[in-house]
Subunit: 288 residues, 2 copies
């Protein structure tokens, strides 16, 4: 049931991403290389599921949900650059700059970020004020007070002697902010009430935290071939992680607690929330 | 008269840019370094002037006009990177990556682009549908089919043996598209009619072309200290320019012709267009 529904949502997003009317020039090929054929698409899937949960029709906001995936993809391309995290692999294949060069990767990222806002502002049946609100919130979540701010702390900050609170702040900005924006995008464009929007925000924040704890655990126990990027990278970087601060068992307990809180925040939705409840479990159980 | 009005518009933009509520962290300082204290601000000035010409109140769209300057600034930061044009100076001071490093420059650019869309979607008295249209058009102008597309052709393309038509295409994308978007932003948010919007689009395209021809001429005859970036760079790069293709005299004639067409396109506005007429002359006469 969960798997089927995930597949349905995923199909909507993949269909859309695979048919973006991009040219065949080098820039478009670089954009496409990173955008298609990979990734769990958890952000757009979360957006579509939240929209449906509050009574919206997911088919009506596929382009807006896909826009979040474009923002996520641009951030991966730029993060992998030699001047940043300097990573050669991503989603199980060579990272963008290893194929298209640094200039090609910088420009593809810039273009994907810009295209995301073109899609968010695209023609649709949804009320214009709601669309403007979503653009404003998404930009905030992705920008200097959100995702880019987190990447800046991570890359330019001195995190070697950080506490758990410092690390959670970085994760909240780097990962949590955009997941939260995805849930809110779905809830707002789906026509949710303010309390519904707030509940889904809370759920998404716990989900983001769980996602990050699991990522840290996979970095310790996973294999590069399965997780699709270099394993053991966190340890080599010397930055604290959940396992390094809490021990592997402690990190697993923290993960379980976070998943519990994510699921508990949905209680007032009753059985309607089945998909999001399973999504929380999936986040903890995934192997990549 | 022209100078005073330019100063008025400029003041609105500078006041706004100088008081953006950015933190004092490293990312915000990098954003601010490139954003404040420099530049002719021709794009936001053009936007405000177009808004006023069609009967709008420029005070009401300062944040949206300033957003275009953020997009322009981000593009300069990324263009100056070692992997791109590798330029050490910009607007008469060290380029961003020479001060904040490559990661700091990449992230500041990303954050400025994202903040631009937050400002474009910001709360305002302007009709939501018009704001969405402006966001859509601005993203289009700045993205893979516009400015980033032009930078890609310029950086990744093979322009050594290009014709004048090829070069004009690159300029149109790199510079013209965002100038056009600035004029349209002003005209749309100022409440202009569709014919007014089209006329100002045409004016902005000629203005952008004139701007580029003048830049090429200044690269030959200007001094680095005055133009604020490295003179003679075009010649060293081996890429064709207006002077290299048409000769210096030919380029000057082309500039004059283009200014004439820009001004002629405004004829139906009568004396109301005085500022934009002078702006066209200013573009041709400037020394930096």
């Amino acid at each position: 049931m969960f798997k089927e529904r995930y597949h349905d949502y995923l199909e909507m997003v993949e269909q859309y991403l695979n048919h973006l009317p991009l040219d065949r020039n080098i820039l478009a090929r670089s954009m496409n290389y990173s955008l298609v054929g990979g990734g769990k698409r958890i952000r757009p899937v979360l957006a579509l599921a939240c929209a449906e949960l509050v009574g919206g029709r997911p088919e009506e906001l596929v382009s807006e949900a896909a826009a979040i995936e474009l923002i996520h993809t641009y951030s991966l391309i730029h993060d992998d650059l030699p001047a940043m995290d300097d990573d050669d692999y991503r989603r199980g294949k060579l990272s963008n700059h290893k194929v298209f060069g640094e200039a090609g990767a910088i420009l593809a990222g810039d273009a994907l970020l810009t295209l995301a806002f073109e899609l968010l502002a695209g023609p649709s049946a949804i009320e214009a004020q709601n669309k403007l609100r979503v653009i404003r919130e998404t930009a905030q979540a992705a920008g200097w007070q959100g995702m880019v701010g987190g990447q800046s702390l991570d890359t330019l900050g001195n995190l070697e002697n950080s506490t758990l609170a410092d690390i959670e702040q970085v994760h909240h900005l780097k990962t949590g902010a955009l997941l939260k924006a995805s849930a809110r995008l779905g809830a707002i464009l789906g026509g949710g009430s303010e309390p519904e929007i707030e509940i889904l925000t809370s759920y998404a924040l716990y989900l983001g935290l769980a996602f990050q704890i699991k990522d840290d655990i996979l970095d310790v126990v996973g294999e590069s071939a399965v997780i699709g990027k270099s394993a053991g990278k966190d340890q080599r970087s010397g930055k604290p992680t959940y396992p390094s601060l809490l021990g592997l068992e402690g990190a697993r307990e923290q993960l379980e607690k976070t998943i519990f809180l994510a699921k508990e925040s949905l209680s007032c939705f009753g059985p309607k929330a089945a998909f999001l409840l399973s999504l929380a479990d999936y986040t903890a159980e995934r192997t990549n």
